[in-house]
């Protein structure tokens, strides 16, 4: 049940490394839905997501209101993508 100190140290370090160096996600290209104007948060959608869910309809005026109310307008870019099922972890 109990590991030796060396194994304990290795597993702990390994988990810490995995936790702090999460695999970086690479996405090919992003597309911007229509209707964006200067001063509003940009919404970029990954090609994989468009293939899966279609190109979203974004109400930029309403979204800008939301972001201003919650984050005082500090949000500049929202990147929407989807993690491949193989990399998805539950729990």
């Amino acid at each position: 049940m109990f590991h030796t100190p060396a194994v304990l140290m290795l597993t702990t370090c390994n988990n810490a490394v995995i936790y702090y160096n999460k695999p970086t996600m690479q996405f090919g290209s992003y597309e911007k839905p229509d209707g964006w104007s200067v001063g509003q948060p940009e919404v970029l959608v990954a090609q994989e997501t468009i293939h899966g869910l279609g190109m979203p309809h974004v109400d930029y005026d309403s979204l800008t209101d939301l972001v201003k109310q919650i984050a005082d307008g500090h949000v500049s870019t929202i990147k929407i993508h989807s993690i491949p099922d193989k990399e998805r972890k539950f729990g």
């Binding site: 597993t11 919650i70 005082d72």
Partner: protein
């Protein structure tokens, strides 16, 4: 800000989907903007405690993990509370994917307008629109 659309649109389809996640992350950004020192301290302490939890679970896999869960951190608690805020519910239709489970639910519960359905290329379901008016036939027009 990064949002996983598949997870947020399908697994959070009872809520506001992508907008829920945007509100959650925007709360973090807002916290860092208003209270940078306090937010950094909270995040660091939560990271250290969570690393301890992961380490304890790795060391003793058959025992319950020691340390708080990540979502019990006050920094995360505020963001989870924001997800359930009425403001977020009012902005539920800010981002709509035409083929997502959440859009289907909104469609079936007649919460989308005709204009929105046309933008999403879902014209075929125009009878499910919230502002759909059934055209009158000759007989009803006679008595109206």
């Amino acid at each position: 800000m990064h949002v996983d659309a598949i997870a947020s649109e399908n697994y959070l389809s009872d809520g506001e989907g992508t907008v829920t996640v945007i509100a959650h992350e925007a709360q973090h950004i807002g916290d860092f903007g208003k209270h940078p020192f306090r937010s950094t301290l909270e995040t660091l302490s939560a990271d250290i405690l969570y690393a301890g939890r992961v380490a304890s679970k790795a060391a003793f896999p058959k025992l319950p993990a020691v340390g708080p869960r990540y979502e019990y951190d006050p920094f995360e608690k505020r963001a989870y509370a924001r997800e359930a805020d009425l403001i977020v519910a009012q902005h539920a239709q800010d981002i709509l994917f035409p083929q997502s489970a959440r859009t289907r639910r909104l469609l079936v519960s007649r919460q989308l307008t005709l204009t929105t359905l046309q933008i999403l290329d879902l014209d075929a379901y125009d009878k499910m629109a919230s502002d759909y008016v059934k055209p009158k036939n000759g007989f009803t027009r006679l008595f109206s």
